[in-house]
């Protein structure tokens, strides 16, 4: 039985994990950097230990320090959240060696899903559809051309060891093949010290749809249906929903089975996500597996009625999955909006700073998972996501209406946020009709981004309030010449301000 969990993370996800710990009667331990002494996860935890300076490389990524704290406070297990050490096979291994349960998959599963070509091979062996292309690294141009002819243009040439777009080339014409191959290989060699590349069919404007799975240590695997994650800006997910407006029951069920097969193929244990790319004709291809909890997990929790963090903890302590595939169904519709401290009017530049005032949305069907509070200073060292807003309703239309209502209620001052940008997404015709893919934001950018027409009446109202506030301050100068604190002990002399000219 797990009795104490160290949460090796910060921000909203650390708080979210601790909430489930508390409900299970488990002691939650926070670790924190210099920048996070007064952070919500430290306030929320039962115990809290300092692990280093603000930059994550010196704190939240320091496996040794985190394991030291785990040993010192006698934690039974470590939950890595997402990001930081969550998909680090070495950390999973070090935890195992230190006798601390890593709440996530073992190092082998992380490794075999972390390497793209290995993952691809495993999926093909498990009968999971992958994007047509090579299964082996290619270093021969003729062979490459054969493959390209077989899968058909356009194709993507990708570095085997790749990531982050480096060593990646899109080829639309056969004449471009030789040049693209050469450049991809040269970039791959300089970026990763390995010039082997592979070739995949390029899916134009795909949907990005992922399946949540849960697997226990006894070989039981279930899926908890899909999440539609196609609303992305620069490959950053912004809005997710479930069910996907694109899928039919037949495709959903086939994809769910494929997701389960994918997890079984690598002896997966824990919560994980199989990401697919899906074309407009609902052909789906395995993209990658995220071997951790996803940011967008709450929409699944709402629609399937499951606390995923609790299930992760139960799995980690060796419990047999108590949920059965045949008992699960999608009840209603849930949407998540990610709230970022960023400025949509200024190229989405991050906007760290001090929270002057915050009101979060509440009421029926609304969940708001955040971590900031009034007076809190958002540090410059970490992700600018400050909360996630999840709305549910029986029908998709009503869920969108509820999201709009919740975004209306959401007020944050002191930093800029993308809240009004998210509202525009909810108002966008393509989104309302559920007809969108990963090109959504690009396609609709005129509607979504840019200044609103001016509204002189609204300006006048702002001026009225500024004026009233100024008069309030003037009143204060005139009447309240004695400060509140220490009335008896000090004198204050006020002089009337040069008020009106």
């Amino acid at each position: 039985m797990i009795k104490k969990v160290l949460v090796a993370n910060r921000g909203e996800i650390a708080v979210r994990i601790m909430r489930s710990c508390r409900e299970m009667g488990i002691t939650a331990v926070a670790v924190y950097s210099d920048a996070d002494e007064a952070a919500m996860h430290v306030r929320y935890a039962d115990e809290a230990y300092h692990i280093g300076p603000a930059p994550s490389a010196e704190s939240y990524l320091r496996m040794d320090r985190i394991l030291d704290v785990a040993r010192q406070c006698k934690a039974d297990a470590i939950h890595p959240g997402y990001g930081f050490l969550s998909e680090n096979a070495a950390f999973s291994e070090k935890c195992r060696d230190a006798g601390v349960i890593f709440i996530g998959p073992g190092p082998d599963a992380i490794r075999s899903m972390g390497d793209k070509i290995t993952a691809r091979k495993n999926m093909i062996a498990a009968g999971v559809p992958v994007v047509p292309g090579t299964t082996e690294p290619i270093s021969d141009d003729t062979k490459a051309l054969d493959v390209i002819r077989e899968v058909g243009l356009p194709v993507m040439i990708k570095a085997s060891a790749g990531g982050g777009g480096k060593g990646m080339r899109l080829v639309r014409e056969e004449s471009e093949v030789a040049g693209a191959l050469r450049m991809a290989r040269s970039e791959a060699a300089s970026a990763f010290g390995n010039d082997s590349v592979y070739i995949e069919k390029f899916i134009d404007s795909p949907h990005h749809i992922e399946f949540q799975i849960l697997a226990d240590l006894h070989g039981n695997v279930i899926h908890l249906f899909e999440r539609e994650c196609s609303v992305q800006r620069r490959h950053q997910k912004i809005v997710e929903e479930t069910p996907s407006p694109l899928l039919t029951p037949e495709v959903r069920s086939a994809m769910g089975e494929a997701a389960v097969a994918a997890a079984k193929a690598v002896n997966y244990a824990g919560a994980g996500t199989i990401e697919f790319i899906v074309d407009d004709n609902r052909n789906y291809y395995f993209l990658e597996m995220n071997t951790r909890l996803q940011v967008e997990h709450p929409i699944t929790e709402r629609v399937v009625g499951v606390d995923l963090v609790k299930e992760m903890i139960r799995i980690a302590q060796g419990d047999v999955l108590w949920l059965k595939q045949e008992d699960l169904f999608q009840d209603g519709h849930a949407i998540e909006c990610r709230i970022y401290a960023e400025d949509p009017d200024n190229n989405f530049m991050p906007s760290p700073g001090r929270i002057a005032h915050i009101s979060e949305p509440k009421g029926l069907g609304v969940r708001c998972d955040g971590y900031i509070y009034e007076g809190y200073e958002i540090p410059i060292y970490y992700d600018p996501m400050i909360s996630k807003l999840i709305c549910w309703s029986r029908e998709r239309d009503a869920a969108i209406a509820r999201m709009k209502r919740a975004l209306y209620e959401y007020k944050i001052t002191g930093v800029k946020t993308n809240i009004r940008f998210l509202e525009r997404i909810m108002d966008c015709q393509d989104f309302k009709e559920g007809k969108y893919n990963t090109q959504f934001i690009e396609k609709n950018q005129d509607f979504l981004i840019g200044p609103l027409p001016s509204d002189p009446l609204n300006e006048d109202r702002a001026i009225l309030v500024a004026f009233a506030d100024y008069l309030r301050k003037v009143d204060k100068f005139e009447t309240k010449v004695i400060a509140k604190e220490g009335t008896a002990d000090w004198k204050v002399t006020g002089r009337k301000k040069n008020l009106f000219s």
Binding site: N347, F348, P350, I380, K411, T413, D460, V465, F467, S501
Partner: protein, 169 residues
Amino acid sequence: MNTLEISLNDRIASVTLLEREGNRFRVRVDETEYDATIIMVERGAYLLLMDGKSYNIELIEEGGPKKYIINTYRYSYDAGIIDAETRYQKSRHSDHGDDESAISSPMPGKVVRILVKPGDEVKAGDTVIVVAAMKMESEYKVKNDRLIKEIKVREGDTIDAHQPLVIIE
């Protein structure tokens, strides 16, 4: 005369208090007269009741007691109270309201790309430098046609907030 000026982004409005009773104000803003109840409900959060309508307007002091960021439901404005004192101070600092002489980042980060070299003539809106901070890349542009004088950093450098990166003329 109970009149002063209030700036709201580029606009400068003349504001006159006609009557006041507690939270109730009769005010003229430029040519229009308003009758409104204005209540500070929380620190920095105002409720404006006017013609039966209810508006929530938030005020954050920024850069002094007479400078505000004002958030209405859809809009955000920079506002300032221009009374005699402000006018006096303003007269001493001419304010062009465009590029500073150096481009800098409001956050610490890392220089990703420098797109100019000394001597380059850049057009209004051109990107000069790209900085990564908080896991995002941000592009810094010039607001007017400018001449690049000096580059103070190199690609890959770790930089502080407000550190001059590119000097322009």
